[in-house]
């Protein structure tokens, strides 16, 4: 059979109507999917269930304990053992600062790489892209030297400073800007906008989806960061929640329930995000993520 790749995917009619007829194979398919779901969902269930019951109860009652044993004690203990409260604040600050900084520097850089013509633009873009192939862990030691010399060790700004500009959002926005019609930009400039105003008033709004994807990527990376925050901070109160979790696991006074309770607390924002933005995640990944 010859596969002729059409230029754009087209949907002729709603597939749902036709695909809703169940066939015999579908029962088997459903069973397999169910098993897979139970397997993959098991850690999810345990994350949120174990923390809500006293230590050992979940174990003793075969994973479905009676609801009258629900308790928030584990959560309270988790918040006390590591100072989860102040760590949450630290993580939030890191997310906000890093995301904003990355978006701004990336927007500025992408603009400079797409619209004005200048010699060396291609080389500059190449240098930016090259940073995507550099593993962050290899840069940790020299950056640690530098950041502690500046005196930013054990501070929020120290956590954030090596990541104020990174290659991936620049790449994303550059692709987004490059896909816009040039006339849009020219019109804005002809109207008298300076470069910066053109960027923020015309170009960025036109790429809302990709900007949102870049923002989500930056925010997620900032929230999930572990290696660098672990090294650059040492006071428990100045650490991020991810590092705090790793300390919770090895802390002397914790039980498994407390570990799960703490983890669930840290996961709440991202879990809600994933549930709520399914469509956005899928479309964001489909449109620009895969090179």
């Amino acid at each position: 059979m010859v596969l002729a790749q059409p230029s754009t995917p087209k949907r002729t009619r709603r597939p749902a109507a036709r695909l809703r007829t169940l066939r015999a194979g579908d029962v088997a398919r459903f069973a397999v999917v169910l098993v897979l779901m139970l397997l993959m969902g098991f850690p999810l269930y345990m994350t949120f269930a174990t923390g809500l019951f006293p230590n050992g109860v979940l174990v003793r009652s075969g994973l479905f304990p009676p609801l009258n044993q629900l308790t928030l004690d584990n959560v309270a203990l988790a918040v006390r053992s590591i100072p989860l409260g102040s760590q949450y604040v630290v993580s939030l600050c890191v997310v906000v600062i890093q995301t904003l900084a990355q978006l701004v520097t990336a927007a500025l850089a992408a603009y400079a790489l797409v619209f004005p013509r200048w010699r060396g633009r291609a080389i500059a873009f190449g240098l930016v892209i090259a940073t995507l192939a550099v593993p962050g862990e290899s840069l940790v030691i020299p950056n640690y030297e530098l950041v502690s010399q500046i005196g930013l060790r054990d501070t929020i700004f120290g956590i954030v400073v090596p990541f104020l500009a990174v290659g991936y959002p620049i790449f994303l926005l550059r692709q987004a800007f490059a896909s816009l019609p040039l006339e849009l930009w020219e019109a804005a400039r002809l109207d008298g906008c300076g470069d910066v105003r053109a960027l923020f008033l015309v170009i960025m709004p036109a790429c809302r989806n990709q900007v949102t994807t870049a923002a989500m990527w930056s925010a997620l990376a900032a929230w999930n960061g572990f290696f660098w925050p672990l090294l650059i901070t040492d006071s428990p109160a100045n650490r991020t929640v991810q590092v705090g979790l790793s300390q919770l696991v090895t802390a002397e006074t914790t039980t498994p329930s407390v570990i799960f309770a703490g983890t669930a607390l840290v996961l709440l924002p991202t879990v809600i995000l994933v549930i709520v933005s399914q469509r956005l995640l899928v479309s964001g990944l489909a449109s620009g993520a895969v090179k």
Partner: protein, 458 residues
């Protein structure tokens, strides 16, 4: 444009490479010891910082002492004390502080950090401070075992704050069922091994549990009458420890005895964690446990349904040189602090190590008091009568000979040495490799660690 950008980037690169040659290397700090005038002449309140790694109940007892010191010295000294997590975290933070000059005035460091801190040379000698401040701590009052541990070439380099000793905890009910008398039959290592096997044979329960932490292999070595590292355990005129020694005959015999228990099924494997051993003991899963005297609190809190006691650590070597090594932590006074801060820090150390502070501290924590003046107080005597185990601990520490063997190995590479030795011993005890192979591998790996450390020492 391209040239300008590349030029700017290259310039920045060169600039930062040049500027970032790193902070000043470890110079010899001014180890001058100021006298009390430095504090009297200082204007206002002298603020000092104190870092420690004592958490939980022990940390609370320490906080109480700090608060007492602060109120007694209100107006002249203020101590800012902070808990830095485990001893390992504490040391990592201190090392990072050395790089950017943010070290505390007084550091309470774990016992095995002593070699490193001694080599880094950022501390003032306690003997000089004591000589310059005759009204404060009298170093002769420090318990001899502590002086022995925290000295090199005859000179004390840190003031101990808390002291513990390794003991053999015994489930007397289980042993009685096996026909073993704890007071008579457990004084030597071989006796203990025989008893453990008997317990397993008659009751089916494991006879002994030993956490595979490096401390226990050092104890076995000291109890067999051998030094752990050459020469003189790193404490003599010959200076730095140059190699580790794991293959002296008495030492191998000691290791073999315990390894044999494990491979024959009389030993319980809980990995390296002392807490796990404690849990197993309090759950009645084992007849005897090697653990620190500090485990007393945890055992009594567990309210076990069986009778228990603690007997001195079994010796396998010549009793005139062999004995257990003390554990705990000691205080180091920063040499980069101002003179007023140094005197204030010395006053803090003197207070914490004084008899009046050590007595309540020892009672609250279960540590052995480091100040011998505590022994003669009447409250202490009655305390010991009510708590016979505490007497066992302090007697063991006082009775042990004060030799290089019982002082333990002094080396800045102790952490790396333990990391090299423990996996090998663990493999030997669980039967994956023969003891002889394990000892050879361990020696090789540990010696490599020592060599690397000495390279870094310069």
């Amino acid at each position: 444009m391209k040239k300008a950008l590349l030029g700017a980037a290259a310039g920045l690169l060169a600039l930062s490479l040049a500027a970032c040659g790193g902070p000043t290397s470890t110079g010899v700090g001014s180890s001058g010891a100021p006298g009390p005038d430095a504090l009297h002449d200082a204007k206002g309140v002298t603020e000092i910082t104190f870092w420690h790694g004592l958490g939980g109940a022990n940390g609370e007892a320490l906080d109480k002492l700090i608060a007492q010191f602060n109120s007694e010295n209100e107006g002249s000294i203020k101590v800012d004390s902070s808990f830095q997590g485990s001893y390992a975290d504490l040391l990592a933070k201190y090392t990072a502080g050395l790089r950017d000059d943010s070290t505390p005035t007084v550091l309470l460091a774990g016992d095995i950090a002593s070699g490193y801190l001694h080599d880094v040379q950022r501390s003032v000698s306690p003997e000089r401070m004591a000589a310059a401040n005759p009204d404060d701590l009298n170093l002769d009052e420090i318990r001899a075992a502590g002086t022995n541990y925290y000295s090199s070439n005859g000179e004390l380099f840190a003031v101990p704050l808390n002291m513990s000793t390794p003991v053999l905890w015994v489930n007397t009910d289980l042993l009685a069922a096996a026909g073993v008398d704890p007071q008579a039959d457990l004084s030597t290592l071989d006796d203990m091994a025989a008893a453990a096997k008997k317990v397993t044979a008659t009751t089916g329960v494991a006879g002994l549990v030993e956490p595979f932490d490096g401390w226990w292999f050092e104890q076995l070595t000291a109890a067999s009458g051998n030094v752990y590292c050459a020469k003189d355990n790193g404490r003599g005129k010959t200076g730095q420890a140059t190699s580790i020694s794991l293959t002296k005959p008495a030492q191998i015999a000691a290791f073999k005895t315990v390894a044999d228990l494990y491979t024959s099924g009389a030993g319980l494997d809980v990995g390296v964690d002392g807490n796990a051993a404690l849990t197993a003991f309090t759950a009645g899963q084992v007849g005897m446990m090697f653990n620190s005297s500090g485990a007393a609190g945890g055992i009594s809190a567990a309210k076990v349904p069986f009778g228990y006691t603690a007997v001195p650590y079994p010796i396998s070597g010549d009793k005139t040189v062999a004995g257990p090594v003390v554990g705990g932590s000691a205080m180091w006074l920063s040499s980069t602090a101002t003179d007023a801060q140094k005197v204030a820090g010395w006053k803090l150390e003197s207070f914490l190590a004084s008899a009046q502070a050590q007595e309540p501290f020892a009672q609250a924590t279960g540590y052995i008091p480091v100040n011998t003046a505590v022994d003669t107080s009447s409250t202490r005597t009655s305390y010991l009568q009510e708590n016979p185990l505490a007497k066992v601990f302090v007697d063991q520490v006082d009775d042990a000979p004060k030799t290089d063997v019982t002082a333990g190995c002094l080396s800045g590479a102790m952490t790396a040495i333990r990391a090299a030795v423990v996996p090998q011993m663990q493999a030997a005890f669980t039967g994956s490799i023969s003891l002889d192979d394990a000892l050879e591998n361990a020696e090789q790996a540990a010696n490599k660690a020592i060599d690397q450390y000495r390279e870094q020492l310069g």
